[in-house]
């Protein structure tokens, strides 16, 4: 996992740093996830962190957003995770973003955009030219966000079926 990346930009309300997640950030990440999804899954985040910290670390990115000063009572205000995936369904290597969230109290301040730009930049550095994600059809918030960042429907369609 990347260990020394940092990006500081002026949000509307406060300065935000984007950096690689550390183990101490997991509680903050899990708390945002639980608040947004209603599901508590600390084990999932711990397992994910351990995998991202030890294997294929040059092409896996677990980034968090934190207030640059200590004024906020929340050490983590957002996160984004992605990795390079290659040859799934014949696809050329691409950057897959599979987790992304911003604390509801810290939205509309550009935090999501900073996270998105940060992971885009990291994918570019390792030679990736296409970034993908998946959004629930009813999740208008994320859908509108990714569209506003320039994402459009890709060449694949997700299919599923119920297994009896």
């Amino acid at each position: 996992m990347e260990t020394a990346s940092q990006s500081a930009t002026e949000g509307l309300g406060c300065r935000i740093n984007i950096r690689a997640a550390a183990k101490a950030d997991l509680d903050g990440v899990a708390a945002i996830d639980q608040r947004v999804t209603g599901n508590s899954k600390p084990d999932y985040w711990r397992d994910l962190y351990e995998r991202y910290d030890t294997r294929r670390t040059d092409e896996r990115f677990f980034l968090i957003a934190e207030p640059a000063d200590d004024a906020s009572d929340k050490p983590v205000v957002g996160y984004i995770l992605g990795e390079v995936r290659a040859w799934e369904f014949g696809s050329e290597p691409c950057g897959w973003v599979f987790a992304f969230s911003v604390d509801p109290d810290n939205r509309l301040q550009g935090v999501g955009e900073l996270l998105f730009e940060a992971i885009s930049a990291r994918f570019r550095v390792v030679g990736i030219k296409t970034m993908r994600t998946m959004v629930g059809r009813e999740n208008r918030l994320h859908m509108a966000f990714f569209r506003s960042e320039g994402m459009t429907a890709g060449p694949y369609i997700q299919l599923e079926m119920e297994l009896d």
Partner: protein, 140 residues
Amino acid sequence: MKLQVSSRLAIFALTELAADPGQQVSVSEIGEKYGVSAHHLAKVMHTLGRAGLVRSIRGVGGGYSFCGNAKRTTLLDVIELFEDVSPGNDELDARTDGTSAGLELRQVLDEVDDIARATLGAVTLSTMLKQIDRRKTIQI
């Protein structure tokens, strides 16, 4: 998917106006740019005015200006002012929905409609303007 002319004109007009909310643009200017009659466009602008998306300024140099929220107004919001894009249900549907083939076809068409609505509901006027700028940058 094909949108009605009024829906498309409304999106074009709003995109023009929202690009610079401080500007006033006449119906004839917009009509000229997109090659449509001022008469047709005037009706569209009237509907947009009633929806609180544009305001009309009378007098010399008057026209319309954008007064909505470009970050919150989606293409679906605009389109629904002019046409019904919910899943269709005509007389033939009513007669065939009880058949196996009718139900299967209905499911496929509902899938298509759902994706179309989700897409239109996720693209705001602000996103349209960003994409237009990106396209211009790429072309340069």
